[in-house]
């Protein structure tokens, strides 16, 4: 709960939407480590301290921030790092850099994808601003840090300031380093489809974009292949799956038209084993490189006709990394 002096001091910003008492407490629960210099750092520190956030500076030169005493009694629990490119925050914070005359700021939350941030900041040089432009960039920086402290915005977000001072948002790349977030209803529909294929392996494709994920149930084409030419396709649909090229093409075309991309290919192991098998690995990366870069794989293992586990396999740093996919609770 804020004290009376705190309410008096922060009255104007307490009025803002998204702020209020809890928001003000969030601003106070942060300690910003500012590893920048110049007017940029001075302006950012002044705004942050005025807003109620503790700032620790790498350089100790005095500035307007020094006159603002901290108002929060308990020590700030959460650390946000502010750094010049090409450095990057270890956990959460903002990186400031320059590219082609413009300045770019990337802000990452604790849960943001650091591999994506690495890609985004790769070509950034350290910021080079002086005077008024530095102050403008510093206030923008303080704004981004406050958004992070308040838990607003997406886990990784970028903003660009042109040489003329015009601001525009920069989109983070589509994250391919982590399994996509799949709503429980979509997952339930997937399990239903895979269960219907038993005792054969079932398969499906997950397509989507930021605002939603869609299930495209697929037929396992392996049965037809095996029936037509058992010598070329010795494995039946019980132990293998394949996608019909024409159906696959339709999926790609429809996704492309809808502005979506293929997020994952899912298939089942009708009687275990759980997880991404060696066979799956050979199928997904025949020569040690992923056949479909940026596409995750989801393997649902069944036992006695019931889904027992689901495992993601996502290509990162030269191999498929597996992780659990929690199954939705059963509705019967």
């Amino acid at each position: 709960m804020l004290t009376e002096p705190q309410i008096q001091r922060y009255a104007r910003q307490l009025l803002l939407r998204d702020l209020g008492e809890k928001g003000q407490e969030s601003l106070g629960a942060v300690r910003v480590h500012l590893a920048l210099g110049g007017s940029l750092a001075g302006a950012a520190a002044a705004y942050l301290r005025a807003g109620g956030t503790e700032v620790e500076r790498a350089s100790t030169s005095p500035g307007p921030w020094a006159s603002t005493p901290p108002l929060v009694g308990s020590p700030p629990a959460r650390r946000l790092d502010v750094l010049a490119a090409p450095a990057a925050p270890g956990r959460s914070g903002v990186v400031v850099g320059a590219a082609a005359g413009a300045h770019v700021l990337w802000s990452i939350a604790e849960e943001g994808c650091h591999a994506c941030l690495d890609l985004a900041r790769r070509d950034l040089a350290p910021p080079e601003v002086r005077g008024p432009a530095g102050i403008q960039l510093g206030t923008l920086l303080a704004f981004l840090v406050q958004r992070r402290a308040l838990g607003l915005g997406s886990p990784l977000e970028g903003i660009q300031m042109s040489r003329e001072g015009v601001l525009s948002t920069v989109s983070a790349p589509d994250c391919i380093h982590r399994p996509p977030a799949v709503p429980g209803s979509v997952l339930a529909a997937l399990l239903h489809h895979l269960a219907a294929a038993l005792p054969d392996e079932g398969c499906a494709v997950l397509v989507g974009r930021e605002d939603g994920v869609r299930l495209v149930p697929m037929e396992n084409a392996q049965a037809a292949h095996h029936a037509r030419d058992p010598e070329a396709f010795p494995r039946t649909a019980r132990t293998a799956f394949s996608l019909d090229p024409r159906a696959w093409l339709t999926v790609l075309r429809e996704a492309d038209q809808a502005g979506e991309r293929v997020l994952a290919i899912a298939h089942s192991h009708p009687e275990g084993p759980p997880g991404f098998s060696d066979e799956d690995r050979r199928w997904a990366a025949p020569d040690g490189q992923p056949l479909l870069p940026g596409v995750a794989h989801l393997v649902v293992a069944f036992e006695g006709g019931r889904p027992r586990s689901a495992r993601w396999a996502v290509w990162a740093e030269g191999d498929f990394r597996e992780s659990d996919c929690p199954l939705p609770a059963e509705h019967e």
Binding site: L15, R17, G20
Partner: protein
């Protein structure tokens, strides 16, 4: 606007406050209530009479009633909604 018969969960008196503290007090008091909680605000003067109900509505809260009392002050009833902050 006649107020419904509800018992407020909290009361504040902002008759001695001026803008912007009138709504600062109201906003904080609303935030401290659980969703669905009712706040009674005693206010006085044209400015808060215009601005406080409107600002509360802007944040997504519900104005349940506004009554003029015999001493010339006003009694505003607000319900805290999930959307509001």
């Amino acid at each position: 606007m006649r107020s419904p018969r509800v018992t407020p969960d909290a009361r504040i008196d902002i008759t001695a406050e001026v803008c912007p503290m009138t709504f600062v007090r109201t906003k904080i008091a609303l935030e401290r209530l659980p969703v669905g909680g009712v706040l009674e605000v005693r206010l006085k003067g044209d400015e808060p009479l215009r601005n406080v109900p409107e600002s509360a509505r802007d944040l997504g809260h519900t104005v349940l009633g506004l009554d003029r009392l015999e001493d010339g002050t006003w009694r505003l009833l607000l319900r805290r909604e999930a959307a509001g902050c």
